[in-house]
Each structure stands twice: as C-alpha cells, then as structure tokens.
Symmetry: D2
Subunit: 136 residues, 4 copies
C-alpha cells in the first residue's frame, strides 16, 4: 500500500448554511490528497499532463459522510493506494478531524487517458517504478 497524509483547513468559502463543509467541496479535499500523494511519489500531476501528455479524469466517486466538518476544522486527508494501478488508479481517502474522529471516507477512481488521442493507457512508467516497491 502507498500512503500519504496532509492537512487542509475548512474555510468560510467551503461552509454552507448548516455551518458544515458543503458535501460538494469534499471532492477538492480528495483532489488535494491524490495530488500530494503523486507529488510525494515524485510525479506532479501538472507534469503528467504537460510532459507525459496523460490526464486523469475521475470516472467513479463514492463518499460516505459520517460526521460533519465545521468551519476552521483542520482536516487530515489520509490517502491510500491499496492496489498497484494498471489502466485505472483507485484512491481511498479517510478524512479525520482534530478530535481524531473519522468524518468521511471516499473511493475515487481515475483513468489514465492519453490527451492527444483520448485513449486509455497504462500508468506512466516513472510513477509505476516509484510506487511498485510498496505493493510487494
């Protein structure tokens, strides 16, 4: 398993009338989690698009909302890649608040798409080599 953790604060912009993190804004928290996971693995998503010519559109997302997140909460985004990616990469997220309570879990699946052709391709070799040792 490849694992990563980062903290992100709930801003006023993210809250809604209930005083909670709006359910649609969790997607950005997941994005931050997977982007920084890739960066830790030596691959910026920016370079994946601009250098490798591969983009990663989301094809499936599932979220479970266990507890609300509130304004100014400093949320830990734990991101896990549990299986070696092939033509798809699956990120598992756990969001944890400052009281160490699990507030949200999510599974986000993305395809590797060659931008020039729109074709599905395999995980870039550099990224594969970097994370492969974690799946032995």
């Amino acid at each position: 398993m490849y694992k990563h953790s980062i903290y992100e604060r709930v801003r006023y912009a993210d809250t809604d009338k209930m005083g909670y993190l709006y359910y649609g804004h969790y997607a950005k928290f997941y994005e931050i989690g997977r982007t920084e996971t890739l960066r830790q693995a030596g691959m910026t998503y920016k370079n994946m698009e601009e250098v490798t010519g591969i983009m990663l559109p989301v094809v499936h997302m599932e979220s479970r909302f266990l507890r609300p997140a509130h304004y100014d909460d400093n949320i830990e985004i734990v991101t896990m890649v549990k299986e070696m990616p092939t033509k798809m990469i699956t990120f598992h997220h756990e969001l944890i608040n400052q009281d160490k309570k699990l507030i949200n879990t999510a599974i986000v699946k993305l395809f590797f798409i060659e931008m020039a052709t729109g074709a599905r391709v395999s995980i870039p070799v550099d990224l594969k080599n970097e994370i492969a040792p974690f799946f032995k």
Copy 2:
C-alpha cells in the same frame, strides 16, 4: 416513482483546466435536482429547515462519470425518487447533455434530521402525503 427534470448550464466557473465540468461541481447539479424535485412536490427545502425544523444532510453519494460535460452545455438533470422515503430519502440522478447522451449517474442519500435535537426523524407528513400516490 416520483420524477423531475430541470436544465442547468455549465458556466465558466464550473469548468476546469481540462475544459470539463469539474467532478466536484456535479454535487451542486444534484442539489439543484433534488431541491427542485421537492419544490415540485410542494415543499421548499428552505421551509423544511425554517418551518418544519428538519434538515437533510447528505450521508452517502455515489457518482459515475460516463462522458465529460463541457462549457456552456445545457445539462438536463433528471431526478428520481424510486422508493417511498422513510427515515432516509434516496435521489437517483441522470445527467443528460444536449446531444441526448447520458453523461453522469448518481445516487445521493440523505437523512431527515431534527435540527433542534440532531435526532433522525421520519419524512415530514406533508411531503409524505404529496408523493405517496406515486409509490402505489
């Protein structure tokens, strides 16, 4: 089954660097779908909170991204309540673009929560009576 349809345009604000509707912004499209479904059933969500004292936090969301939505696309949001709600209400959404292609499906589940106590309660009687004929 109780069914509703409304159109919502993809704005520049909703797009991302790929030129697509950002995956996190679909949640607002679902919100529009379910809010207008309730309004059609004679119950504004605003009144549900302010008069009935019941709020509807999302507890589960699942989205399948089949095709991208592009800037200025006029998206039909089809919303269906397929089962008579009890202490939970489940909305099924289908998003359809102007070429009549299905671009996204989603299932969003919400609890009825009494705001004063935080307790789970049953669907408000007025709403139940309004939609009950559709489930016979």
Copy 3:
C-alpha cells in the same frame, strides 16, 4: 446602453456559515449576467473563444455588498453595458432580491485577447455591429 436581466437562485452550495451568499460566489452571478447579455446580442462566449479565437479575461472587478443574499433567494441580475466597448468591455451589474431591494452592485472590466498571440484586440465586429445601435 445595452441592458439585460436574468434570474439566478442562491443554492445551498453558494451559502456560507452566516447563511449568506458567500462573497466570492457573486463573481459567478456576474459571469452569468455577462454571458447571457452576450447571448442576447447574438454572440455566445463559447463561440467567441472557439470560432473567433478571442477570450475575455477579467482585468478589474469592484463589488459593493449592500445587503446579504440568502439561501433560495431568486436574484435578478441586471447587466448593463453603458459605453461602446473598444479594446475593453465594462459590465455594470445590479443584483436585486425578491423584495426588490438592491443587494449588490459591481463593475467588471475585461480585455479582448486574441488567444493565439495573447495580444489585446478590439471588440469582434459582429458583436460591435449588434450592440452599436444601443449607443447612438
């Protein structure tokens, strides 16, 4: 003067912890105002980019927040072009709530930029011809 009016509802996604339309989300209301103003003048912004090859980045925005907008308010966005655009187009917006109260005014200035070169250019001829009669 060229003038346009459209209604846009404040969604849960747009509210913040105060229960107000978050100050950052007004920009999307202005975007809707100016996009639909252009559409009324026979020019979709989508075509301006894709056919004419001209984009309109915002270079200056000024907003005055007079009253809050609340959840589910149906806001009238009045958009005015008060002077014939040259290399810049200036939109004046007035946002009015359902009680006919002025809640927000804004001035948004955009350049016409040729996407291929990044150079500032003049207003596209088709758009100029369409709106010119309103400035005589």
Copy 4:
C-alpha cells in the same frame, strides 16, 4: 502596518477552461490571507464569531488582475492592514507567483457586526490591543 504572508496552491478545482485560476476564486485566497492574519494576531475568526459574537461581512471588494495564476502555482498571499481599524477593517492583498511576479492586488473592506443585534460595532478590544503597536 500589520503584515502577514502565507502560501496557497492553485488546485484543479480552482482552474477554469482557460487554465487560469478563475476570477471568482481569488476571494477565497483573500479570505485565507485575512483569516491567517487574524490568527497571527492571536484572534481566530471562529472565536470572533463564537466567543465575541462579532462577525465580519465583506462590504466592499476591489480586485486588479495583472497576470493569470496557473494550475499548481504556489501563490504567496501577502496581507496588509495599513490603517488602525475602527468600525471597519481594510485588508490589502498582493498575490505573488513563484517567479516573484505580482499577479493580483485587492482591497477588501469588512464591517464589525454584532451578530445578536446586527449593529455595527468597533473592533474587538483584544484584537485592537494586539495590533495597536504596529500603527504607532
């Protein structure tokens, strides 16, 4: 003058079809700037609302967009309070990209409002005492 600096990265969620940070999302960058400025001054905005009972709605915003911000740019948000606040607080922001180029300047003005009454009040004494030495 009271001054503060923090970095915030442009996420995919923040970009638009041009590949730029959408003009409406700068408001959240300003929010982060002023919130962290207050935190540095020993006053969380959360506590200002929940303990002091004072909220800070934005009443005026002016933004100048000098250069685009791009995906994954790590933007420095410089926030300055140039005058001792009274019943209004004015934040000046300068956003600077990783090439040390100034991309955006903004002035955001907020009122101190007593939440219980809606009345305009003066800057909370604790905050005043903390920042007063910087205006001598």
